[in-house]
């Protein structure tokens, strides 16, 4: 313990003079890193302390790599490198210059030797270095580390950091970390202060720490305080859990909406039962896969290219299906159902023959991965956020198209009174084909979004077809708002039933609910009423 403390004092002293040191010799970092080689572990302890004291931006990555036992030397020139896995090889990056050194085999590099004690000292140094970082995220990450294993040795650097911290939210976090350390203090007053400092800090780690302290706490006063703070945190946790579930439900609903909105056009507006709708989604997903194959160096942009491409591929397929089969079956919905089911089998087998029956992997671009950490209890993943936004954009775009464009006008004219529209010079056949193409194209777009969430395989579409029909029928046929409400409602309901009953049972319950619902109100939530509806 004393040794730790001395180290830190030493390091702090060093830190004060570090600025000049770095200026005096530009390559001090490089020289120090060179000394990390070899097997003299005692020497390395001093070296890392000096590196930490440099206030060089390059210091933290080196220490982190060392901490994770992932610092290497290239055998050919003994240069120190970071290595990242890539295609079963290692991509090397120079530690000192940050230069990309290309791919190498694992035999070309040698790991820098460490041991447990060196690594644990490195961990301390990393935490302290982070606390002094200029970036708020790094400081918060350091606090999160500290909360995992609060140790008295961090008290001094924490105090130093608290003293100079200006940002209130970071200050709060630092104080929570300080509290976490003092929770084990002998003084009742200190413990009380520690608990108070933690009040209102939304973090699962704080929750665990306080829970653990409650089991060993002897003072009645502190116990009461802990209970108060815990109560508040748990309420916050429940609240945020609700928000998270709601978001999850909405994102699930958005997936349903994307899958169903195309069907709302073909089934809802045209009255065509397209059992191959799921396969249009599948085609969209495979289009994404092909687009990524075609532009392997621009994965980030691939989705943006894939959206119009999928729309075209699925839409074209839709037009072919409409002109080739469905137009001969208007007014015979049950036959349409059977014929389009046949088409769905053909498309599935086609994809199986062309791409193999195995699932294909679609890459998620950088900008879609990761999550938005709002606080310790709530984080929203980016891909789901984008899907919600995307689904809404598709829905409103479609509404705009139907309500405002000339094509939308023609489409509504044809569906309401075919003979009249035809006599006014609208090419009804063309409108039918385009409408069906539009519905199918939107299904294709849904496929692009789904490729980011699920496996892309020949059966992708099948799992969505029944859900999509349920959404459209539940919402009321021919009503896009109904489809929207139904999709979101079912998504959220599914998410909230799930913890009570398990995922599969939740799905079954929802299905049973919809079956019962349709039996009570065969025309859906937002059905039009009147004598013209049934005609």
């Amino acid at each position: 313990m004393i040794r730790y403390f001395l180290n830190i004092v030493f390091m702090l002293a060093f830190a004060l003079s570090g600025v000049q040191f770095a200026q005096a010799d530009d390559d001090a970092f490089g020289q120090l890193v060179e000394q990390l080689g070899g097997s003299n572990l005692r020497n390395k302890v001093q070296v890392i302390e000096q590196i930490a004291a440099l206030e060089d931006e390059r210091a933290l990555p080196v220490l982190e790599a060392l901490m994770n036992n992932a610092l290497y030397q290239r055998k050919s020139d003994n240069q120190f490198v970071f290595a990242a896995d890539e295609d079963k090889q290692l991509r090397l990056t120079s530690v000192v210059s940050g230069e990309d050194l290309g791919l190498a085999s694992s035999r070309d590099v040698r790991k820098v030797i460490t041991n447990n004690s060196l690594r644990s000292q490195t961990r301390t140094l990393v935490a302290v270095t982070r606390l002094h970082s200029k970036k708020n995220e790094v400081k918060l990450a350091a606090v999160s580390e500290l909360l995992k294993s609060p140790d008295a040795s961090f008290l001094a650097p924490l105090d130093a950091a608290i003293a100079e911290e200006k940002n209130p939210s970071v200050l709060k976090a630092l104080q929570v970390a300080r509290g976490a350390i003092l929770l084990g203090n002998e003084s009742e007053v200190e413990r009380l202060k520690a608990v108070k400092a933690m009040d209102g800090y939304n973090s699962k780690q704080v929750l665990t720490l306080l829970q653990a302290q409650l089991d060993v706490e002897s003072s009645e006063l502190v116990r009461k305080e802990i209970n108060d703070v815990l109560g508040g945190l748990k309420r916050a946790e429940t609240g945020y859990k609700f928000v998270e579930d709601l978001f999850f439900g909405l994102s699930l609903g958005s997936v349903l909406l994307l899958a169903a909105v195309g069907l709302a056009i073909t089934f809802g507006v045209m009255g065509v039962i397209n059992m191959a709708h799921g396969e249009m989604i599948m085609l969209g997903a495979y289009t994404t896969y092909v687009v990524q194959l075609l532009m392997p160096n621009h994965i980030e942009a691939s989705l943006i290219v894939a959206v119009p491409a999928a729309f075209l591929v699925a839409g074209l397929m839709g037009v072919i299906i409409e002109r080739g089969v469905i137009r001969f079956l208007y007014g015979r919905p049950l036959e349409t159902l059977l014929a389009t089911f046949g088409i769905s089998l053909i498309l599935q087998q086609l994809v199986r023959s062309v791409f193999s029956p195995l699932n294909r992997s679609v890459i998620t671009p950088q900008w879609m991965s990761g999550s938005w950490e709002i606080n310790g209890f709530l984080s929203l993943t980016y891909n789901r956020m984008y899907i919600v936004l995307f689904a809404l954009a598709v829905l409103f775009g479609l509404m705009l198209l139907l309500k405002k464009s000339y094509f939308g006008l023609q489409m509504r004219a044809v569906t309401q009174n075919r003979a009249m529209a035809s006599s006014m010079g609208i090419r009804t056949g063309w409108v039918d084909a385009m409408t069906f193409g539009l519905g199918s194209g939107i299904a294709g777009i849904a496929g692009v979004a789904l490729s980011q969430l699920t496996n892309v395989g020949p059966n992708l579409g099948q799992s969505y077809i029944i859900d999509s029909f349920m959404v459209v029928v539940f919402g009321g046929v021919g009503n896009l708002w109904g489809t929207f409400v139904a999709a979101m409602g079912l998504g959220v309901a599914n998410k909230f039933i799930e913890p009570l009953s398990g995922a599969v049972l939740a799905k079954i319950l929802i299905l049973v609910f919809i079956i019962m619902f349709i039996q009570r109100r065969p025309r859906g939530l937002f059905a039009l009423k009147g004598r013209f509806v049934e005609g």
């Binding site: 015979r332 049950l334 036959e335 159902l337 059977l338 046949g342 349920m470 039996q519 065969p522 005609g535």
Partner: protein
Amino acid sequence: MPANSRLAWLLNDVAGKRLLAVVLAITVLVPILNLAVPADSFFHVPTYWVSLLGKYLCFALLALAVDLIWGYCGILSLGHGAFFALGGYAMGMYLMRQIGDRGVYGNPLLPDFMVFLNWQELPWYWYGFDNFAFAMLMVLLVPGILAFVFGWLTFRSRVTGVYLSIITQAMTYALMLAFFQNDMGFGGNNGLTDFKDILGFNLHADNTKVALYVLSGVALMIGYLLCRFVVSSKLGRVLVSIRDAESRTRFVGYRVEHYKLFVFVLSAMLAGVAGALYVPQVGIINPGEFSPINSIEIIIWVAVGGRGLLYGAVIGAILVNYGKTYFTGAFPEVWLFMLGGLFVVSTLFLPQGVVGVVQQWKQKRAERKAFKQVTPSASPQAKPDSSTAAVETAS
């Protein structure tokens, strides 16, 4: 006009009599050719073929059930695979209980999969299935009651047409998800299998297989006669009128939902019997039988054969399944293309199925032969556009 005799419904059904004769012939001949003819003879029918044919006969009975409600009452049920599977599960449960302590774990009471899942006692719904008579009753009752409850809710609310099709499909899908669950107590993914014997007869013995085959043939014949009796009665004509003009039928004073319910339940029970005969012949029942594609495949058997005729369904089921056996063996890649194509072709070009094509061809030939004579060959079902009339649109 049919003679007003008690058996007119049977005597006037020329095509049906021919079909019954053929089914009777293969029901009698195949066992003889299998059991009495030496194995090296050209005429010998291998046991493998007996089971395969038995399977086809079960499918034919299932197709009959579907034709009864689709062809005559216009209800396109995408849930008959489920009734078939439920009948199969009821039989499977009996067969599981017959295994007794001969299972891998040797538990006299619990089937292997329950022991594997660490279950301590038999779930209540497995009680009674060790009794053959009880199990057979369940073969009828389980699909029948499900059809009754589902139909009662649906028909009363006047859910018709594609809406009905879609919710029957959702029902099947929900059942499939449920049966895949291990804690449902029906063996989860793997279903029920490893059967040993039925009523004390070894299921793997040739004699038992032949007996099951004969039973399937007999069941098909009885099923056909039953369906023919129903559709030839006044009830059958009410069904047709429901199919063609549901509102009209109501305003004439028929309680449409009762008629639909009757025929839906009857059809579900027939499907259950088909499932119960199918399971011991193939030796397994699993949740895959509930998958929506199975239900929709049955529809295509009927469509290919020619709907609204009863014998068309039998012919279609056997034709398509023979095709499936042949192509999945010879060109597995091609089969789904063919099946998919069959859906499209039969709806676009064969509204009356192969039977309709044959009838048309016969009619043309007859017209050419008997130039002066006018042959009144038009039977109610042979009407060219009755297929479109099956879709209830008037309201």
